[in-house]
Each structure stands twice: as structure tokens, then as C-alpha cells.
Assembly symmetry: D2
Homo-oligomer: 402 residues x 4
């Protein structure tokens, strides 16, 4: 009788290497699956290592451009910022990884999918809800959560099974990275009164070490998608990597956040998003000149819901599709160029222009060119203030607190 | 027969000086009223000048502490940011000025109130709606909007009436300032592709000129109100002025915004809010550790509505009172200390602590001290993902777009 | 030299007949344009009358099916209810009428468009904003608002110009009607303490006169659009007219509403919407079984914004398009049949079924067939309540008011 | 050594009677606690029965007026309607019962609290989250969820332990009732295509059996609280019971709802809320004339959040307190009288009046008394439509879909 097959999200690290063995012990044939979503992995090395530690098959997938176009694009256009601070790094890659795991499972006739998350983070929720949404018939296994070993017990098991122990095992940090940024939790970061040490950062220099000369970028957008920097066109994934590099050198995009996890606790995380913060800032400023007021004032409601929903693992859900349809409809006008100055940790928008710009100098000006009909304001104010005025007449000054 | 009296919001500048005469020409006895809301006016000079240009009486009022406690406090606790960028500088002072104008009108038995706004800005709306809310029986006059003179015509009238012409008349900028910041519009700023020139700024240094040594501040909050800096207690208005000074020296708080005015046009404004941005950042981070998730996720909805409402001139309205009641209820837990690093245009929160902190290291940690029950996650995820799972079972993969 | 042309929204009533003459007096060649959007007009009579009172050309357009498919459909799927009571009758037809006026203006090379609204209602806003959105170069004229005659003056003018005076001129009501319902304002209705008299109603019987036998309808929906009643398929406009008739006979859909107009006043209106209320109720119940919880809980936010926006005359705006894209994405699952009982003023949904139903008896049941994993609840509750629990531990009982 | 004490929410039914024994078997001394929240219980009988089946102490508490004033009042003023249909019956009483259980636990030095809910409903969440919020140190036990017996096993255990088996054990319904209504789930109701049978109802007559003569009520409100009916003053709990009786006789308040439970499933419930629906309708109409537009348009956002939060068991939470503060601030103007006609299942508001009414006949009228300045509309419309107009000028007709 054939062994049941499980597809494991494999990173090459200790946890998932041990999981290959542990799942094999449970009677599974393990198929490893590793994605590059922009963290710059050595996919060949990881592919080989998976086989070395016992996988029966090992997939590696360069998913950078798919990640950029299908996931990051929405985050950018939707201005998704969980709790107004965190631009959803891991939360964005989890659904794509889940999708690839399910695709491999279907190809391999696997009956189960496994991930390396513990039982107290958000990622376990994101993986499991995404996988169930994509194929409710698949079993989902979370070896690390199930075995609930201490670090020592895990190392003992690894030694016993001849699983190589990584050299940097004593790193106090737990890192996840993709195109859209790098997240870091644990260890010394757990005290929210302590400043994060420099060692916590990997994509950005400290502001103290940033160059004294600013760098100017002209970023061009078409339908809300950044397409070129200073006239050079890039595929979206490359453009973001470019910006991670350039803005990172200027110390742009460090975020230190005490956030509310879905599983009910507050945790402190340190993020670096040089490209993401540069693009989010530029995109917002382009919308400021191209979106009509009523739309500009409602879109943040959509953004907040979309942010929570993605953070909470509901990427593959009808609500996400409906929110995306809203966002997509709005982006047709978001064309133009934004000039960004990278300097000392800032991505400052110094100028923005667009063929779709609704900023009209002839209406806005206080010079003699003024085309605004100032007399219209009198009637406007009369009707605008009428409800409050009637309220005051009826209720006298009861409503005025001060 | 006695002349009708009008109370004029008097700034000492050309427009309102001319307005004193113009209103007198219309048959009014003009009572000038000037407030200091933190812009550092020479009140004695202005009081005298009003009389010199024809006012029959001249009031000057130091309203800094009232402005701080009754207006700025709510803006801080409510995180009011119009269009996620503008922390409501003039929009906050207009209701207080209106209130004082109405009080003086009542004291002087005046039948009218006048302001110096043109017909295309937001401030005319704020003044008129506030005054009508406070006393619907008062007539409101807007001389500048009514006379609709060109600059040249106004100067000719001033010369004819012996009204002193200010030296800085050729300034290309139109400035309004108070405790909470400084706003600047017009002239060269009207091209949104051009970077604002250094001359546009008055409260902050350029990042290029900011010191190479950071300054660390420990700001203490009680019930959401900042009370001390590095152990020294200040009244709120002084604390903010202190921060304007200290954070301004580090280039903190420059904002360049193309915004949607209530009167239907987009305009480009440059703001400087060193104290405001420092305090808003610190307050948000203190809330991040003291507010429960459900509350933290809903408060931004309140903030957005409050921001729009204040921007739109509806300070004296029942909705503002209800939103304020919401905010006030939330602030009892916002106690603690935030450590802010002022450096190169940034106000970076490096640490936060509170006796009301809901961040629990024993729950958040990945060390052996962990008290979080990881097994609870299994049941949680099952029910959390159940609606999406049922949806997928019923509708197969129809919902999954990618 | 050729006369300037104006396209007038012509109803055949006194106001717009007088407007034909008045506009002619102003030097315009008047092109009348009358739409049937479901009120059952005698289009031939109106076409002739327009020419009789002086129009140089007279268009009549049967727009019922376009109105149903492009305007009413969105109102139904979007559950638009202004202030949770008014299902947007006139507010829906105004943009379509505006669109047709603009089309005729383009065809006729007219430079102006005119409507018959007064200066205190919502419809003037809806017409003018829609027309400006469709073609900002067109002049918009509002004769009734401009001439501001008393009723007597208007009649004198009409007599003088040989314009026929309608017989029912003394009707105390002002009626507007289309497929989606009938609205009535003015006269005795203006006292909100008085019950509306029976004479105010035209589409529905009083509950007192409704039959003692209920009528059962099975309404089938495809992608959120009602397609058949009791197995008989109808085009949407006919289906609604059918329901107006059938549900009207049972007294369904009377609404008595004191509402907030856009122009700042409260007004009291009486509406009748037998078909609309039947369909809105049925559609909501079908969504209750076919939409996933997260989506069902957010859609009302979209509905509220869409209702306000349409009420406020912003149909032709990018925000409406984005909200519509959201709604459209959600309707693919809204397939199935709803059984409605019409009886004594009620449209009661007694049953609903769908191939996309997410109601799962095996999960919901308390019988032995139960497939719900009750043990999952323990973990779920632990994490669901964790933030509140930590809050209580930290802040003791400060938060518990009672 | 003394036995550990547990306080059990005791209803007198089979489940909680068995729970007394089961908890005793687990080594607890069981203190029974039964509340009357308006369901008309025989408290003496229940008190005695608890002791008979093995409780060491038995509390009975008449909590009707506290329930009305502290819980129902907020639901009424906040217009809480979960999914726009369910006015939160059980969801309102659970926090009060939890509070009383905790109070008794403190008085009796009990270390645990127990409830009789199963593992698939909402009430388990409401009890457990409320108890943890009130005293995180208390253990919470859910005997029915823990023992997970079939009905047969439970009856066998009861017989063995001499616990009386209720006569109506074979009722296919599961009922919960309080002042605010009666809820019913299970059995035949589980098929959402089938109409609920008459036997499912207990508080209301069928419309078919409702009297042919309407009943008129004048309900007076003070600060949003109903205080009298037709001139007779009642304490709130009695006023609601009165209305349950009077409106129930007219068949008012039947609700048939397929709802989304917090635990992830859809369930079909039948509710009867004659008093609640009458009061909610009347209160909304009084707000329609007394609340200013901006407030009236935002309050539903508060209502929706408050409804979800209470439904989801978060009554004792800081967000609820903040939402309540908002609501309370708004109610000072909600004074006046509403005339309601009870007839054939309807509670129709025929008239409303208030000293705080913002409806102004002189502004609303179309008669010669009109005081509305129609000329103001011209300027208003110009600025109101300006953003859309500029958008169209810039983007031509790209935005107009139709």
C-alpha cells in the first residue's frame, strides 16, 4: 500500500527540516515545496537539502513576479496598513504559498499539506484558512505546533536523525522576508520599552549611517502600478527590489510596531519596508491629485477592511474579491509621475503630475487668473450650515459644550 | 440713533485693517477682537493698531491654554488627520475664535460679526457655521468676499483711508499659525510638481540643516494628555510650544499636501507641525499598548469622521459632541511614558511603557516563559475559517480568482 | 442668426408647459423631452402637448427597461435605503433623465438643458450635477427656480400665453412616480404629527382594505436579478410592474418618512413601493443564505454610502462606479428562489433556497446528524476573549460600568 | 477539607438540573442561581427545585428592572439589530446573568462558574467572555459541552440520579425569552425553505388571527427612554411587558432569520419581539425629527458595531463603553411623543412630535409661508458638483459607464 503524501512548505531551516523527518515518522511521504517571493533564497541549495533530510520530492518555485502582480499590487493600490503601521509583509505571501502548496498537492495526489508555524502566530491561521478555502478536502498538519518541543528537545531529535543544525541557530531573531519587506520578532525585541538593536535590521541602514546626499527618483505609475524609475522600465518585482535597495541605503522604511495579533495577544515586531513605504507614499500622493474627493474619502474605509481581512488570513474569500473590484475600478485614473526624495530615512514626495490631475491651478489660485466663483460660497455655506443652525435655534445653546 | 455694532476678527494685517474702515463706511461701529492661539502675536501692538485704523473698541485675548485644553486636546486624542495628512491647524482655531467673537458680541450688544476670509477657502465656512451654531440671530459679514477687490484696488483704498500698508505685503505666502502648527498656501506653492522653497517654512529647519545628534524625550501622558517632558511638567499649551521648538530644530513635521477643500476644489498647502506630529506619534504608540484590539480597530473610524467634521466647520454640532464622548471614554487607559528620538526630521518612538499596558511578555514570548495556550489555536482556526470553508465546499473554486 | 437651443425635461404638467413659453421668451428654441420610466404616461399626448405649448421639437422615450436594468438593478442589489427608510425613487430616475437630456442635446446641437425643479428640493441638485458630469460645457437652466413666481402669478402667465391649465391643479400633492415607486410630498403631509390621508396614496390599498387571503409568490433570482415569478419569466421592468400591482393590492410598501434633504432641511414624504419593498426583502433573505458572513457584515457599509451618494446626486461619479464594482462582484452567488407571502401590508419571506446556499443543516442541526466539532469552541472562546481578559487583569474592574 | 464551590446558571430545565448532579459528581458544591429577566418564571418553584436536585444553595433574582435600564435601554437607543434583523434578545441577557453569577461567586467564595450551553451556539461565548472580563480568576465550566451526551444518555443519567424529567421534553423547540423578546431554534425550523409552524410562536398571534380593529398608542420618550403609554407612566420593564402584550395581540414582531453565528455557521432562528419592534420603530421616528442630519447619518455606523459587539459577547469591553458614551450623548434631544398604530402585524408610526423637533414647517413648506432661501441653492449646487465636474472635464466621459 502506498504511503499518504504530504506537501510541506519548506524553508531550509531547522524547523521544517525536522518536520520532514517527523512527518516521515508519522507515515507520510514528504514532498518539500519552497518558494522564492523575493527574499533572495538559494533555491538550488534548498531543493537539495530537502532531499537530503528525507523528502521524497522537492519543488522550488520562483514566484516573485506572480507575488508582485497578484498580491503586492493590491496591497499597494489598496494602501493596506494593518493598524495604520504594518504594510502586511508575511500576510501577503502566505496565501500565495498556500496556493502553490495546493497546486503541488493536486499534481502529486497528496492528501495533506503541512506548514512550519507555531501555535501562537498569525501565519498558522493564514495558511490553514487559505488551504481550506482552496481545497477543503485537504488535511492540514502543523508539525511544530503539534510536537510542542522545547528548543533543546528539537535539537536532540535533529541530532538523533542526522539533520544538520544551522550555524546561526542562536540568533535571537525570527525573520520572514519577501519583496514587500522583512519582519523580525522575538528575543530582545520583546521589551517594548527597549529600542531595537541595530542587529535586528537587515534591509536598511540606520539614519545615522545614511548618506548626506539625497537621491531623487521619478516614479511613473500606470493605472496605479509603478512601471518605471527615472525613465527605466522594470517588471514590478524588479522595480520593488530596486527600491528596496535604493531606499534601504537611505534608511527608509523601518517600522517598530506593537500590534494586535488575530490570536488575541499583542506582540512587538520590527519591520523594514524600504520599497513598500516609498511606493505607498508615492501612490497616495498620486491619488491625492487624481481621485475625486468623495472617492478619496471613502477609499480608506475599503483599505482598513482589506488590511484586516488580509492580516486575518481571509485572502481567498468573496469579501476580498469584492474589495479588490472596488480598488481596481478606482485605479484607472491613477496615472502620472511622482518625484521622491530619499534622504535620511525619508521618502519625501516633492512633486506629482498627471494627465488625470484634478488639481486645477485656475480654480486654486489666488492670483488674477482665478476662475473660481466666490459668490457661490454664500449659498453653499447657508445650506451647509442650515441643519446646525436649525438645531441651535430649536435647542438654544444646549449642544455647545464649551 | 445708535450705530449698529459689528465684532470683527482682527489680525492686524492689511485685509482686516481695511475691513475696519470698510465696515465703518457701511455704517457699523467696529469692535476689533484679536486672539493669541499660540502664534506669538504682539497683542498690545495689535490692540493699538485696531483703534488706530478706526475701531471703536479693541479686544485682545490670550486664548492659548483654552485652545490647548478644549480644542487641541481632542485633536490629539482623536488622531484627527484630514485625508490622513493634515492635522487640522486652522480648522481647530476657527471655532474658538468664533466663540470669542460671539461672546464679545453679546457683551457689546453687537448685532453682527465679521471675518476676513475670501470666498474660496474653508475658513469662511468654519466661521459662519460656527457663529450660526452659537447664535443664529447674529448677522455674519465677510468684507473681503463682498468687496472682491483686486490687490491693487485694496491698496488704493487703504492709501486713500490712511491705513498703513505692511512692509511684507509682497510675500508670496498666506500664513496661518497656532499652537498646533503653521499653514502656508499660495504663490509658488500652487504648482504641485514644484518642491516648496525653503522660504515657505517658518517653524522647522530643513533636514539638511538638522543637527547630527539626536535628542531624546520622555513624554508622559495622563488620560491621553501629555503632561511632562523629561520629568518637567508643563501646562498643555507650553508643552506644545516647547515641542514646536525642540522638534522644529530637528526638522520634524513638514507636510506637503494637495487636499480637497470643502468648497469643491483641490488646493496645495504646506504645513509645519513639529509639536503636533511628535505628540500624535507618541500618543498613537501609547494607545497601541493600552487599548484593547476591538477598540483600537474601531477608533480610526471615529477619527476619520471627526477629522472631516472639524475640517468642514461642524465643531459646534451634536455629532462632534458624541464623537468626543466616545474619545473621552477611551482615554482613561492612555497613561504612561513614550520615549521619542528627534532626529533628521523624524520623531521616532523607541520605547513605550504603561501601568495599563496590555502587552504581556509572558503571552507574547517565544521563550520558555510562554504562558500562551498554543493548543487553543486549533479550535480557533477551525471556527475562524469555517465560513470560508463552507463557501468553498458549496461554490467550489468559483471565488478564487488567481 | 439661429436661436440657441435648450432641451427641457418635459412632463406635460403646468410648470414645464409654462417653462416652454418662458424659455422661448428668453430667446431659446425649446426641445421638449419626456421619458416614461414606469409611471404609465400617455407619451403620445405629452409629445403633442409639448408642440402645442410652443416647443420646436418633442421627444418621447420609453426608458423603462433601461431604467430597470441600469438603475433599479443596482438599487436592488445594493439595498439602497436612504436613512434606512427611503428606497430612492426619484433619486434613481434623475440621472437617467439627465443622460437622455444630454443625448438629445448632443443630437440637436443644443447648448443648454433645462429642468422644472424648484430651489428647495433634491432633484435640482441631481439634475444639475448629473448634467455637469456628463457634459460640463452645457448650460443648465432652472426656469421655475429662476422666475420664483407665486402659484397665482404662474397661472396668470399661463392664461396670458394660452397655456392650458390642468384640471387637477388644486391637488394638494406633488407626485413623482416610476417603476421603483411613487413619492408624494406637500400639503397636509407637511404636519408630521398628522397621519397621511388615504388620498395621498395611489399604488397601494389601505391595510384595512387588503384581501383576507394571502398571495404566495416564488421569486427566482439569477445573479441577484429577479427573473421570474411563480415560474413565469419577465423582463425586469415588467416583473417590477407586476409586483407593484400584486403587492399593491395587499397594501405592501407604504413608507412615511421625515427625511434630511441634501439642501439642509427636513421634509416629510410619503412613498409607496410595493414592488421595491417586496424585492428588497426577498433579495436580502437570499443573500442571508448565500453570502459569507464577513461579506454580509461589510456590504451594509457599501449600501449606506451608495444610498447617500445616489440621494445626493452623485450617480455619475467614480465613487459610484467603484461601489457598483463591489456590488457586482458579490452578486454571482445570489441565485435561488424566495417564497414571499403578500398579506395585509406585509411581504413576508417564508422560505428561501439556493444551489449556493451556505446554510448547512448538518452543521446547524442539534440532531444526531450534527457534524459541527463542538470541542473547537473551547479554543475559539479562549482566544476570542483573550484581549478582554488581559484588559481586565491589567485594569481590574475599571472598565465594567455596571 | 472544604469542597470547591461552583455557581451554576440554573434554569430549572433538564440540562441544568442534570448539571447540578454532574458537577456534584466532579466534586463541587453547587450553588444554583436563577434570574428572572422578564420571561415570567416561577422563581419559588425553581429555587426549590435546585435544592431538590442537589444544589447546596439556591439564589433567585428578579433582575427585570436592572435588565431593562442597563441593557435593553442601550439596545433601544442604539437601534441594535444584528444583521439588520435580530434585535439581540439572548445576547442582551447573557452579560447580566454573567454579572450576577460573578457577584454570587464572590459572595459565596466560589472558585468556578458554570453555564448550561452547548458547544455550537453563541451563548457559550457570551457567558465565558463576560465572566472572564468580570473576574479572570474564576474557572468557567460548561457541563453540557463537556459531557457531550446524546439526549438518550442524558435521560438515562437523570433517571439514575432521580432527577425529574420535564413533561415537555419532546418539544422540538429550544426557547429563550426575556423582556426584549423570545427566540426559538431547532427542529423543524432547521429547513430554511419551510415556513415556521404556528406552534413555534408564543408571544404573538398570527396575522390571520389579529383583530380587525387597530389600537392606537401614544408613547412618550424622555432622553430616548420610553416613559409612558397613552399618558400612563410605567417603569421601563413594565412598559416593555405591556407592549409585548398589546403588540403581541396584533401579531407585531415576528422575525424569521437565517443568521451568521460567531462560531462560524449559519443557523435559522425564529424571534418574536412585539414590544422591542414597536419601541425600536417609534424611537427611530422620533430621532428622525430630533437628530441633526450629520449625526443621523453616522449613528448607524455606531449601531452596527454595537450590534456585532454585543452579539459577539463583548458587552463588558472598553469599546462597548465608548460606543455607549456616544449613544448617551445623542439621546438628550430624543424627547417627544410618537403615535403608533398596532394593526395586522404592523406597528405603524402615524405621527411624531417633539419640543426638540428640527422639522421646521416654515422651511419645508411649499406654501406662501416658505422661509427657505431658494437662491442659496444655486451656489450650493455649483460647489457641491464641482469635484465631479472637474473630474469630467479632465477625464472626459471615461467615468460614465452607461
Amino acid at each position: 500500500m502506498e504511503k499518504k503524501k504530504v506537501v510541506l512548505a519548506y524553508s531550509g531551516g531547522l524547523d521544517t527540516s525536522v518536520a520532514v523527518q517527523w512527518l516521515t515518522d508519522q507515515g507520510y511521504a514528504v514532498i518539500a515545496c519552497c518558494l522564492d517571493v523575493g527574499e533572495g533564497k538559494d533555491l538550488n541549495f534548498i531543493q537539495a537539502k530537502a532531499l537530503q533530510v528525507g523528502a521524497v520530492n522537492s519543488y522550488v518555485i520562483d514566484a516573485k513576479e506572480e507575488f508582485a502582480n497578484e498580491y503586492v499590487r493590491l496591497a499597494l493600490q489598496g494602501h493596506t496598513m494593518y493598524e495604520e503601521k504594518y504594510p502586511l509583509i508575511s500576510a501577503l505571501s502566505r496565501p500565495l504559498i498556500s496556493k502553490k502548496l495546493v497546486e503541488v498537492a493536486h499534481k502529486e495526489n497528496a492528501t495533506a499539506v503541512a506548514h512550519g508555524c507555531t501555535g501562537k502566530g498569525n501565519d498558522q491561521v493564514r495558511f490553514e484558512v487559505a488551504i481550506k478555502a482552496l481545497d477543503p478536502s485537504l488535511e492540514v498538519i502543523a508539525p511544530v505546533r503539534e510536537w510542542s518541543w522545547s528548543r533543546e528537545e528539537e535539537i536532540n531529535y535533529a541530532k538523533e536523525k542526522n539533520i544538520p543544525i544551522p550555524i546561526n541557530l542562536d540568533s535571537p531573531y525570527s525573520i520572514d522576508q519577501n519583496l514587500w519587506g522583512r519582519s523580525n520578532e522575538c528575543g530582545i525585541l520583546e521589551d517594548p520599552w527597549a529600542a531595537p538593536p541595530e542587529g535586528a535590521y537587515g534591509l536598511t541602514v540606520a539614519i545615522e549611517d545614511a548618506p548626506d546626499t539625497p537621491e531623487l527618483l521619478e516614479i511613473e505609475f500606470e493605472k496605479g502600478i509603478p512601471t518605471s524609475i527615472n525613465g527605466t522600465t522594470y517588471p514590478l518585482s524588479e522595480l520593488i527590489l530596486q527600491l528596496n535597495d535604493r531606499a534601504g541605503k537611505h534608511g527608509v522604511g523601518r517600522i517598530d510596531h506593537v500590534e494586535n495579533r488575530l490570536v488575541g495577544i499583542k506582540s512587538r515586531e520590527v519591520y523594514e519596508c524600504p520599497g513598500a513605504m516609498t511606493l505607498l507614499t508615492a501612490h497616495k500622493e498620486l491619488e491625492d491629485i487624481t481621485l475625486v474627493k468623495e472617492l478619496a474619502h471613502f477609499k480608506p474605509i475599503i483599505s482598513q477592511k482589506l488590511s484586516e481581512l488580509i492580516y486575518n488570513g481571509l485572502w481567498f474569500s468573496p469579501l476580498k474579491n469584492a474589495l479588490e473590484a472596488f480598488i481596481e475600478e478606482t485605479q484607472q485614473f491613477v496615472n502620472g509621475t511622482v518625484r521622491v526624495k530619499l534622504f535620511k530615512g525619508h521618502a519625501i514626495v516633492e512633486g506629482r503630475k498627471s494627465a488625470n490631475s484634478l488639481y486645477d491651478e485656475k480654480l486654486a489660485t489666488y492670483t488674477a487668473d482665478d476662475e473660481f466663483d466666490q459668490s457661490a460660497a454664500v449659498g453653499f455655506i447657508k445650506l451647509w450650515g442650515l441643519p446646525t443652525e436649525v438645531h441651535s435655534m430649536v435647542n438654544e445653546k444646549k449642544t455647545v459644550k464649551n
